[in-house]
Amino acid sequence: MAVQTGTLTQEDRLSALLDMEKMILSSKGREAQGPAERWMRYLGFPGGILAFLLVYYLPAGAGLSGAAQSGAACFLLALIWWVTEPFPTYVTSLALMFLLLVTRTSAPKAIMDVLGMEVIWLNLLAFILSAMLVKTRLAKRMALGLVLRFGHQARWALLAFLLMQMVLAPLIPATAARCVMTLPLMLVVAAIYGSTEESPNAFGKNLMLLNLICISVLSSMTMTGSSANLIAVGLIQSMGGHRIYYMDWVRVGAPIAIVTTLLMWVLGQKLLFRIPEADQTPRLTGGLDVVRRKYEEMGPLGHGEKKALAIFGLVLFLWMTDVFHLDWFGVEITAPFAALLGAVIVLFPRWGVLQWAEADIPWHLLIFSAGAYAGGLALDDTGAAEWAVRMLFGGINLKALPFGVAFTFVMAIMMYSHLLTTSKTVRTMIMLPIIITLSKAIGWDPVSLALPAALCIDWVVGLPISGKPNVVLFSTNQYSVMENFKYGMLTCTIGLGILVASAATWFHWLGITPAFWAVPQ
């Protein structure tokens, strides 16, 4: 995000920051920070090509098709370029799409069709709704209110966002929707604490990355948190023969997700991106009084704000009640179509609140997403991802291991495998059947491995391409790919540790897992 702030007094500066209509989603690349990052960018380009050539010319492995090998080579090249950023991420995406074609990994139609995927549409429409919140100043009012109530200390502002995401997660299953509706608040609060695109600070990194993990991880609190969770429940029932009820999932999923996010709230500030004492309070002369004055200057809710509130309420209502749509309307209005209805009202002449030119559509971001999805789908369609998973599972004799060791191995693969794919649904479809079959073959109850594995589905936090919210939040330029990776990997590792500890204790007491050191019969 670029904010045209000017160089005036603190109060003027705050006014400029809060003038969110001047914000645009910047398509320019993030500046390298320090010599190490500059060298990484310089060497990243040939490094990506070298990795591509290594994988491309490897001898054919048993069971791996030529297209799958080419797809893996292309994806690795793109991954290195996305991480090292020799040029903007969307350029890498375009290069990846071209490579997928010329290596005959994917058909032209399959590559081009990603731009029409549901996720791309949802992103586009959610940005229109986000622009509505900004234009009508509703986002500004909400951000100021949030800072006034919780912003006395940076840590409490961060906690407020964590709690907000925790409340929204069970209500709105679409993670991209949750992300985009809270993004304007994140940007203003980050700016109040002195973190902007030009000079991101530790608070900004903590804020964006904490929201990133909360949006994804807290989806695993309920089985309706994402459609992939429901697919997993279906597979456990059809293949494993166990029905998972809503509360079965909540009592194992919610504590793990909540404890992990709370730990990351602490560790993010204390370990990864330490917030100096000076940055613990808003970076404004006059402190919160200035924020309060600005809030009071806004006066009562305006006509536009009320309209925005009503439109957003309607979309929110449709997002929350999707399970009843079939009964009410005879058809399910999915998340993108609910947002589409909102966009129609928002852009409607006279009655709406926005004109098309005022909607800031970040096409560079959508292109980045499209490339990432094209690469991820290529890995899935060619069987490369499935081959890698089979190789991993086939590489160790789980039958010879105690349950706890096998559990740790399976959960680790499930948790970190999100780095290899960009679709939770596809990952679920590949991994869960293998885990259920494996459990049966070893002699464990399928639920003992499949349900905990299903809890990991939503933890797609390692890279900016791992999930939809990641793509959106990365566009704020407040953190690098490497910082995302560090934060995400720590989150996954903590989650894995808690899962393993749970398997040894209360999962066993609940009757979900056998004794930790039990051996297969």
Binding site: Y42, Y57, A60, A62, G63, S65, G66, G383
Partner: protein
């Protein structure tokens, strides 16, 4: 005259073996460079009774059919009707209800033609071949398990699985067609649990030469070197 006589006998006993069921049916195809193939098949039958039995095979242009395992005195022939090729036999009296038949044969032209016709453009690079195998169970006897294994000719590898049917059911663990080494030779395996009368199973695999072009290597090295030279200022500018 012998096949003709056997055919008449088969017609006579056509309904006798109707209750038989194929418990498992495994076909292994070794494809040769010239597009021909050597096929061996093992069919395990349950509820076998004396009389005619017809086993569908998913190949045309079958030659050199030979029985390698079966009841003494039994003979088999290949017949073709309505575009389907069948191996037919008459089970003699006194056959056990569970028996195994094994036979082998040679086939021609297992690759689909890839040469474009007049006015058409090829969609495959030079040297590519497309292998296709499809089995339609045209008989009353259900096939409870069908496996077709293909071993690719030397110097070719699978580039992509273009067809794998039928689609997986929810309760099945994928994939329908899996690439694997078969007898230490690169190949593919099609596996279907049940084929009732009228059901079919098929796989289509695009094969390409095993050695990859060095063009990518040259292009990659040239690009890398050019980048390192022309973008040196990325690290040099701030270092000075």
């Amino acid at each position: 005259m012998r096949p003709l006589a056997l055919g008449l006998v088969l017609l006579l006993f056509a309904s006798v073996a109707g209750a038989a069921e194929i418990r498992s049916y495994t076909v292994r195809i070794q494809v040769h460079d010239d597009g021909s193939g050597s096929v061996s098949a093992v069919v395990k039958i349950e509820s076998a009774m004396p009389g005619a039995i017809a086993i569908p095979i998913g190949f045309a242009k079958v030659t050199d059919l030979r029985l390698t395992q079966g009841p003494a005195g039994m003979d088999i022939v290949v017949t073709a009707a309505n575009g389907q090729t069948l191996v037919q036999a008459v089970l003699p009296g006194g056959v056990p209800p569970a028996l195994t038949l094994a036979f082998g044969f040679s086939v021609q032209d297992v690759f689909l033609p890839v040469t474009p016709g007049p006015g058409e453009r090829s969609t495959l690079p030079e040297g590519s071949r497309v292998f296709r195998h499809a089995l339609l169970n045209s008989q009353q006897a259900p096939i409870r398990s069908y496996t077709a294994e293909v071993m690719f000719p030397d110097g070719l590898r699978a580039h992509a699985i273009r067809e794998a049917l039928p689609k997986l059911r929810k309760s099945e663990v994928g994939p329908r067609v899996q690439l694997d080494d078969i007898n230490a030779t690169p190949g593919a395996r099609l596996q279907v649990d049940r084929l009732a009368q009228g059901d079919s199973a098929s796989m289509q695999i695009e094969l390409v030469p095993q050695s990859r072009s060095v063009a990518w290597l040259i292009a990659g090295l040239v690009l890398s070197l050019a980048y390192l030279v022309y973008f040196k200022d990325l690290v040099a500018r701030r270092a000075t």
